[in-house]
Amino acid sequence: MKVLYELSGIKHRYNGRLVLDIPRLVIEEGDIVGLIGPNGSGKSTLLRILAFLEAPSEGTLHFKGMPVGSEGEPPRRDATLLLQDSFLLKRSVFDNVIYGLKIRKEKSLRKKAFEALKMVGLPPEEFAHRPWYALSGGEAQRVALAARLVLRPKVLLLDEPTANVDEASAILIKEAVLRAVKEWKTTVVVATHDLLWLYEVAKSVLNLYQGRIAAQGTSNLISGPWRPLNDGLWERALPDGQGILAVSPPSETATAILDPSDIVIATSPPAKVSAQNILSGRVTQMLLDNSGERVAVAISLGGVSLRSTITPKAVKELSIQPGQRVWVLFKATALRWL
């Protein structure tokens, strides 16, 4: 596949504070990249940079092999970003949707706009004429999305497209994204906290943490405070009295990453095992990922949630189910420091 974006040594600062630090990132054409990470981890900032709305403080961004920003206008019309707080222009829904087409001097606005509204599940007859303020939160969000879809963009950047949106519409948005990729060869980057939804959409997932790409895929993040134990181990106390053990954190407030595939699940308290961490918890969620090949199991350890991925076969053998008491096992060294 062709490389579309190439980021090298990108750093971005607000008021001197480093909020994004990506030594290298390549996004290929037709990819669907998910961006996850806690609030303030830099997802929206990265999307703004990919949309050429903000120039990174440092580093270079190549788009289609060309460096962006060094000279000339950036290729803004190739990429469109659905902003996190979906902002509508002070005009009717219809005029909002056709705005981008109109300034591109395109034809058959009505047809295209109605199609886009349908794609996001808003019956055009009912919504097209409404003024911008006569919409519910989720409706407004979907109008904003329709205004992007209607452009058939080369790159579709979505910032929390399903926040405020109902279940049925989330499915429609998923389908719209997949259709864009298939029919228009659109490349999609989507930031979201809706992991269930992302599972069904994304081909790859980047986990951002404090502006850095902490991991590919959905990893567990375990943050401090860490307190030293006598044998070189450090412990993060859990609300229920148990503790997660780790080796030499760089600081007391450091955050560690724990790959879901490093976690073993057992349905009975294991006997002698080499893993230092043997914690008891309850299964809260079980989700099938979009490949249909792995099941994500969320286990609550007295409030803190850990995610483990196992095969459907293993699920069957263990015969686990939500609500069941299980034990999770992982090595103290499996925690990698960020």
């Binding site: 469109t80 902003l83 452009l151």
Partner: protein, 231 residues
């Protein structure tokens, strides 16, 4: 006191009776104020947009200068323009002095800071998401400006109304540059000044009333437009 009431009655009489002098002044006023407001909007809105939209060094100083020029007295504008368009001035050959375009030059200069400052303020007051939204939908250059101004249309309209108020009510520049020549460059305001100087206060009030009715008509039209634009 009495002259106010007399003036109000006279004002209506002037209008109804179709008083020639009054209608000449009305027509002069409308002509010259239309020229001035159009010129000041055409020049001022783009400058205001740039000052409100972009960040560049010196922007704050330019804004302060524009705000300062809000306080320029009409007579001073009159003096400055007079220096240029008088027969002995560098632009004397254009023959602008004591003509309506001559007045319009002065009024445009007078209205410009209002248009610039208020437009800049309107643009600055726009939601910061708007800029990103317009950019990401593909707007650029002039489209960006026009769409931003359209989003702030009420504030821009208000800027225009304020500038219009300044233009139609000013007297110093009209006097100095137009010469208040009866039948030619006598506007409503220069006529009012004259009546006042003559001590005919009731006529001053009468013409003032006529001017206010004129301004009311213009503003009612603007307000109707604004209501339509609200959708």
């Amino acid at each position: 006191m009495d002259y106010i009431l007399e003036g109000l009655i006279n004002g209506i009489v002037l209008l109804v009776s179709g008083d020639e002098e009054t209608y000449s002044a009305i027509s002069t006023t409308l002509k010259v104020s239309t020229m001035s407001i159009i010129a000041s909007l055409i020049i001022g809105i783009p400058i205001g947009f740039v000052l409100g939209y972009f960040d560049f060094p010196g922007k704050r100083t330019l804004r302060t200068i524009s705000d300062t020029l809000l306080a320029i007295p009409t007579v001073v504008v009159g003096l400055l323009v007079y220096a240029f368009i008088s027969r002995r001035g560098p632009l004397g050959s254009l023959g602008l002095l004591f003509t309506l375009p001559g007045i319009a030059v002065g009024q445009t200069i007078l209205a410009l800071p209002i248009v610039v400052s208020l437009t800049a303020g309107a643009v600055e007051g726009l939601d910061r998401q708007l800029k990103l939204t317009l950019l990401t939908l593909g707007a650029r250059g002039r489209q960006l400006a026009i769409s931003s101004l359209w989003e702030g249309r009420y504030a821009v309209l208000l800027a225009a109304a304020t500038a219009y108020g300044r233009v139609i009510s000013e007297v110093g520049a009209s006097m100095m540059l137009g010469g208040n020549i009866k039948w030619y460059t006598r506007t409503m305001t220069t006529a009012i000044s004259l009546e006042t100087a003559k001590g005919e206060f009731d006529m001053g009030i009468a013409l003032g009333l006529v001017l206010m009715l004129l301004a009311f008509a213009v503003n009612a039209a603007l307000s109707a437009f604004k209501k339509r634009a609200a959708q």
